[in-house]
């Protein structure tokens, strides 16, 4: 939290003035019972109507000054809190964007999104509340007590006893109930989860005829929830009656002590009324304070979560920002004894990978689920750093490229076809900001996506919904391929990105890419052996190790794993039919 406080730095003035004006307001509020006491003790006693009107005017004046002070305070508090939130949001967004794949993997995107949204909102309103109330409530509570002392010390002693007693009750009940609210939340989460599960899994549940058990599960979870809710309810139900008793008993004692003091001529009748008034003020403020503390605690938890994200350091370092000039070497890309393990993973995902690629070659990568195919290609644009070994592109270690340069050189089509809300053209321009319509259409044609665009009203300006929901899986994949092609990358990586396409379209796509640019180096990751069959080199991965490298014919002769994969898709006679 402390380091987040620097975001209030630009709002120092506001952060000081807000509580200050709040104090002023409280101060004026504390005068009110005193003025009233004077009306009774001087005005009424002497029958001085002029004095009464004067004091009455003073009361209204106090109210107006209080209102002005408090509006000023509210404005400053709002300004500081909103400014704080806006600045924090900006920085956190920028920070998250700088995190590398490793951090995103460990933290998880949904967590990051909650930090960005609800957590910041909670902290923002916490700051607002804090600036407004943290001074006011304790000030009124103790102020009332001090005022009581100015009236009569004997009567004030009742305040000294009452305030701690009330605090113990109010804060005690809160302390007991807060952890239980957490329990309520977790049981409510369970109910939500069961409901969700039963919707998503409706088919499976019915297929297995488990409706009755699911109903029982739900009823049980629901009953558990009710039980804890009723229990918490019982405890919080005590708050009002108990504080009511304490405050009113205190007033009763006050009356008795007051009666004695008046009788002895130490104080006047109006002073007794003032004391009773101060007592009533205390309760209201203590309850406010308790609520404030609940809110602040919540905000602090959120602030800590945000802080944790802020403290994440991107694990990738940009070693150089000077653009690397291409050198003409025979080998364009080289993996030199590369080993790679994900953060916190026990076993490496890739072990001792070495291979060389010439410019313009097409490289197929094949292997079973979890064999390390995607891990391998993710190393090329430096989404992750190799744990051991070295990767060079154009003769230079990729660590010596500016991140921006290496990523511009590489066009990657990820497994999950992601499109963004906006028009098709806007999505295409992710690859190249100033792409012309001709360039975009060319890329779309190569990606076999021209028909997708032509089928839409407004063509390139047709809208895509968030996540590309208004497109089929195959259409999405083709558009993401086109997006990567628009920037005419030097290295194109297709990470199993044609899986939703039928074989015919897949084949046409590969043909079109091949014709596109002789100098483009292409990596194709696939589980389909037909997709990579005609690659210049095929890398066969098994359990993170290269078990074969060569052309289709070579591998079919020499590589056992490759044979197994191939024949699993084309039982021996397959080729004849083709």
């Amino acid at each position: 939290m402390r380091s987040l406080l620097r975001y209030l730095g630009s709002y120092k003035k506001e952060s000081v003035l807000a509580p200050l004006f709040k104090l002023l307001e409280a101060l004026f509020e504390l005068f009110v019972p005193l003025v009233m006491a004077r009306i009774i003790d001087i005005g009424i006693k002497n029958g001085d109507i002029g004095y009464i009107l004067q004091m009455g005017g003073l009361l209204i004046l106090l109210g107006i000054i209080g209102l002005v002070c408090s509006l000023t305070a509210q404005y400053f508090a709002a300004k500081a809190a909103v400014g704080f939130g806006t600045a924090l949001r900006h920085d956190l967004f920028q920070h998250i964007q700088s995190l590398s794949y490793s951090e995103v993997d460990t933290v998880g995107t949904s967590t990051l999104i909650t930090r960005m949204t609800s957590d910041i909102n909670q902290v923002q309103s916490g700051v607002n509340l804090f600036l407004r109330l943290f001074m006011r409530s304790p000030f009124i509570v103790f102020g009332a007590m001090i005022m009581a002392f100015t009236i009569d010390w004997k009567a004030a002693m009742i305040f000294v006893i009452t305030i701690p007693a009330l605090s113990v009750v109010v804060f005690g009940i809160m302390l007991i109930s807060i952890p239980m609210y957490r329990k309520v939340q977790s049981r409510l989460d369970r109910v939500t989860q069961l409901t969700r599960e039963n919707l998503v899994g409706a088919r499976v549940i019915r297929a297995f005829n488990r409706q009755k058990d699911e109903r029982e599960n739900f009823t049980e979870a629901n009953a558990l929830l009710m039980k804890v809710q009723v229990f918490v309810g019982k405890i919080t139900a005590l708050l009002n009656p108990v504080t009511y008793i304490i405050i009113n008993v205190a007033i009763v004692v006050l009356l008795w002590v007051g009666a004695n003091q008046v009788n002895n001529g130490i104080i006047l009748q109006g002073a007794v009324v003032a004391l009773v008034n101060y007592m009533s003020q205390i309760l209201v403020e203590l309850v406010k304070l308790a609520n404030l503390i609940i809110n602040i605690t919540k905000s602090l938890a959120c602030a800590n979560r945000i802080q944790n994200v802020m403290e994440l350091k991107p694990s990738l370092t940009e070693y150089s920002t000077t653009e690397v000039k291409e050198t003409n070497s025979e080998t364009y890309i080289e993996f030199d004894h590369v080993t790679f393990a994900y953060q916190n993973a026990k076993e490496p995902s890739l072990t001792d990978i070495s291979f060389k690629v010439k410019k313009g070659q097409t490289i197929g990568i094949i292997g079973g689920t979890g064999s390390g195919k995607s891990s391998l290609i993710n190393l090329i644009p430096r989404f992750y750093d190799a744990t051991e070994g070295k990767i060079t592109v154009g003769g230079t270690d990729i660590k010596n490229y500016p991140l921006n340069q290496i990523r511009t050189m590489v066009g990657i089509v990820p497994q999950k076809a992601v499109l963004f809300k906006g028009t098709i053209a806007e999505n295409m321009r992710w690859g190249k900001k100033d792409a012309t319509e001709v360039e975009m259409m060319e890329a779309l044609r190569t990606a076999q996506a021209a028909e997708v665009v032509e089928g839409k009203e407004g063509r390139l300006n047709a809208d895509i919904l968030q996540g590309g929901k208004n497109l089929s899986g195959g259409q999405r994949q083709r558009l993401t391929i086109a997006r990567a092609l628009v920037k005419k990358p030097e290295i194109l990586i297709l990470d199993d990105s044609a899986s939703a396409l039928d074989y015919a379209t897949d084949a046409k796509l590969r043909k079109a890419i091949k014709q596109m640019d002789r100098n483009m180096t292409v990596f194709i990751v696939s589980q389909r052996s037909t997709t990579i069959q005609y690659a210049d080199q095929i890398i066969v991965l098994d359990d993170g190790k290269i078990v074969g490298i060569g052309t289709h014919e070579e591998l079919l002769r020499s590589c056992e794993v490759y044979q197994e994969i191939y024949y699993s898709q084309f039982p021996k006679e397959g080729r004849q039919n083709g």
Partner: protein, 581 residues
């Protein structure tokens, strides 16, 4: 929402509270007692003040008597307040529980058509947050409304009883606070609306950019994203400032109005006291009324909006609970036993929406032990056939028969018991791996379970998980790969070993080597049993006895792999395209 509908919803709400009518009555009585006594205390205090006049002029026995009265009143008030709270709690949470349980039971009985055509989030929010809103707003709201109204009436009555002139002052100034509150509320509402609209925009941008950070980084889009973010963030800042400020005006403003009422009572009361119409003690009572008189007004205006929200939520919950359930099993429905695997689809017509025809005059005859494969482009109706076979949907015309019996005359339970199903959408429960595998057969022994897992080639990866079979997986198996999830779903079915099997893209995320091994296991287990296989990968279905090639809701070709290739039609085209280039 129309008045009529509101009334209707209200009636339903009352019906759901009816089992607790005794608690409701008790709560209302206690509320009335609490309010009356709370209002009585200031009067007693006023009496006491009147006994404390000046030095040497204090009536101690009088004060003592009043103090005794006050203590009794306090204790009774606190007790009735506590009782009221406890009653309200009970009513609220019990009604919530009842409604949730009922809604969930209905959910399990709704036709899949409902589940498929409604967003999950929407249904979940009806059962979870709408029910909460409904109970909080309605039950708490009603009691607050009740005690608020009693407080206002009671205060008025007491004030009139004490002194009608001063009472008039209070009555005249108080509406001021209502006007102020209304004025602020309107301003605040527009600002809050704008704030939440902008917040929504920002959230969806964050959702897209952070959610797909990998793509953003791959395209070096970070700076553009930040620019777009800043633009919305700034607008949000402006609206937030206004919304926060306006909403925070309410408290000081009502405090000010309160202060004016207080001053008014003070001035008029003091003048009255000078004229001997009012004692100082009565003035004290008045002052404390003035302090709290505006409170119930503010509360009531808050409660009314809350009530409106609650009614809207209640309407949504009831809508779900009154949704037409699936047609119950016919009374004379037979229990399907001794299934050989004869399945027949006879002139079947079906479509999800009347405007879009899908399956027309579909005929199929499957003999025991046959392996039927269904292929075809996306959207051709492959999965629909499965929906009809399992009776997730009912046919529009024609019929589906198992062992010669129309499945509408078979109990759903026994029909589905005879099918094993693995879908492309892998669904796993949150719970342990073990719980998931034995989902279809909860009484399976350890050996049976391990055997099934081994057959599904899931055993080896399960063994490698931190707690083996007792590893807890999160909702929808988030921490497993798609392929691993499919293996678990297959193990789940293998354990039940039903007479008929449906595999809808069941192995699409499993690598082909493992797939072949699984298929061999299936083949061995399914010896003599009927199976339906839907797949994209042609290698998956080549061995089938009959391949149905579907397009636009119809079978366009039918035969074995070799026969279809010889026909040189749609299938042959599809198949050969694999080897193009």
């Amino acid at each position: 929402m129309g008045k009529e509908k509101n009334k209707e919803v209200m009636l339903k709400v009352l019906r759901s509270i009816r089992p607790y009518w005794f608690l409701v009555v008790l709560s209302f009585v206690m509320a009335a007692v609490t309010v009356a006594l709370t209002l009585y205390v200031p009067i007693l205090i006023g009496y006491a003040v009147d006994e404390i006049v000046a030095a040497g002029n204090v009536n101690f026995p009088g004060v003592w008597a009043i103090i005794k009265q006050i203590v009794v009143v306090i204790v009774i008030t606190a007790l009735s307040q506590w009782l009221m709270n406890v009653c309200n709690n009970r009513i609220t949470f019990r009604v919530i529980k009842d409604i949730r349980t009922k809604a969930f039971h209905r959910l399990e009985n709704l036709p899949l058509k409902y589940v498929d055509s409604h967003q999950y989030g929407d249904v979940v929010s009806r059962i979870v947050s709408d029910v909460d809103q409904f109970s909080d707003g309605l039950l708490m709201g009603l009691t607050q409304l009740f005690s608020g109204v009693i407080t206002i009436i009671g205060t008025l009555a007491f004030m009139l009883y004490l002194n009608w002139i001063i009472a008039l002052v209070v009555v005249i100034i108080t509406p001021l606070s209502l006007f102020v509150a209304r004025f602020i509320a309107q301003r605040t509402y527009t600002m809050f609306h704008k704030q939440s609209e902008t917040r929504g925009k920002l959230t969806s941008l964050i959702d897209e950019m952070i959610g797909n950070q990998k793509v953003v980084q791959a395209f070096g889009y970070e700076d553009d994203a930040l620019k777009r973010f800043d633009k919305i963030n700034e607008t949000l800042g402006e609206f937030s400032l206004k919304a926060t400020f306006f909403s925070s005006i309410t408290n000081p403003a009502t405090r000010f109005v309160n202060g004016v009422v207080y001053a008014g009572v003070g001035i008029v009361g003091a003048i009255a006291a000078v004229n001997g119409v009012l004692t100082v003690g009565r003035l004290t009572s008045f002052l404390s009324y003035a302090n709290q008189y505006t409170k119930p007004f503010n509360e009531i205006s808050g409660v009314i909006t809350e009530l409106q929200n609650a009614l809207a939520s209640a309407a949504r919950v009831f809508e779900l609970m009154e949704e037409e359930p699936q047609i119950p099993d016919a009374e004379d429905a037979v229990v399907l036993a001794d299934v050989d695997g004869n399945v027949e689809m006879d002139h079947v017509y079906f479509s999800y929406t009347p405007e879009q025809k899908l399956i027309e005059d579909f005929n199929l005859n499957v003999k025991p032990g046959q392996r039927i494969a269904i292929v075809g482009p996306t959207g051709c109706g492959k999965s629909t056939i499965i929906n009809l076979l399992m009776r997730f949907y009912d046919v529009d015309d024609g019929c589906v028969k198992v062992e010669g019996e129309d499945i509408r005359h078979i109990t759903r339970e026994s029909l589905r018991d005879n099918y094993g199903m693995v879908l492309q959408e892998t669904w796993l429960k949150s719970g342990t791996i073990r719980e998931n595998i034995i989902y279809g057969k909860p009484d399976a022994s350890e050996e049976e379970m391990i055997l099934a897992s081994k057959a599904a080639h899931a055993h080896s990866f399960i063994k490698r998980l931190p707690q083996g079979y007792d590893t807890v997986i999160t909702e929808d198996g988030g921490n497993l790969s798609q392929g691993q999830k499919q293996l678990l779903c297959i193990a789940r079915v293998m354990l039940c070993l039903p007479p008929m099997l449906i595999l809808d893209e069941a192995t699409s995320s499993i690598d082909t080597r493992t797939e072949i091994r699984i298929q061999k296991a299936f083949a061995k287990m399914m010896q003599g049993r009927t199976s339906f296989i839907v797949a994209h990968r042609l290698s998956t279905i080549k061995e089938a006895d009959v391949i149905l090639v579907m397009n636009n809701g119809n079978i366009i070709e039918q035969g074995t792999h070799e026969e279809l290739l010889a026909q040189n039609g749609f299938y042959a085209n599809l198949y050969n395209s694999q080897f193009a280039l």
